[in-house]
Subunit: 132 residues, 2 copies
Amino acid sequence: MRDQTSMSRQEIEEGTVLAPKFDQNGLIPAVAQHAETGEILMLAYMNAEALEKTLETRKAHYWSRSRQSLWLKGETSGQTQEVTDLLIDCDQDTVVLKVLPQGDGGCCHVGYRTCFFRTVQGEELTKVQKPL
Amino acid sequence: MRDQTSMSRQEIEEGTVLAPKFDQNGLIPAVAQHAETGEILMLAYMNAEALEKTLETRKAHYWSRSRQSLWLKGETSGQTQEVTDLLIDCDQDTVVLKVLPQGDGGCCHVGYRTCFFRTVQGEELTKVQKPL
């Protein structure tokens, strides 16, 4: 992975070299999307190691901010995410993972298929999914 | 909007009250997804005002970190985003906006339909979309 500071804006935004821009905590947001249904499952964060491991193993790895450690998603729950594609945005500060959730097909620790199981209207949240 | 600090974990994660958790900069990541195709278009950030304006006007507003100002997406490009649904995740620290892009249907300042127009394989990026 290259360091953005030595690159032109055009190289970063339209080039062919991976140069992720990690934030002040060394993290980049990663959006997991179901490879078949298109549903957005979760947003988590990756450090350089998590991104490398994900690219290498094709299993989603994140950085757990609460535990401050590398996190193989599904290691305990069985809800691993097989990565079929990994996309990066123009300024290389966000990645999208297209994934196939394993185990019971869930993703969210509260028991839903995705973490985005509530819709917002005004100040009120309504559940739009049933638990698994 | 309520303050998470006065709420139980269950109220935050499974309750019906909007209580977004803004980060140390007062921001929450917002993922915009095409309401019809399911394509992930971009990730940007909202402060409380941007979230309120988005809920009120049903047009996506973000906080521009580079300009440090409220940003009505599409104000200059015409690529406004009509918000058909807004979802929030379990810990209320990320939102998903389902949007209908207006204008030429684009989203990315580099000229693509989405900001995620490159796929990552190893260290190499490959364009998987054509410019608009």
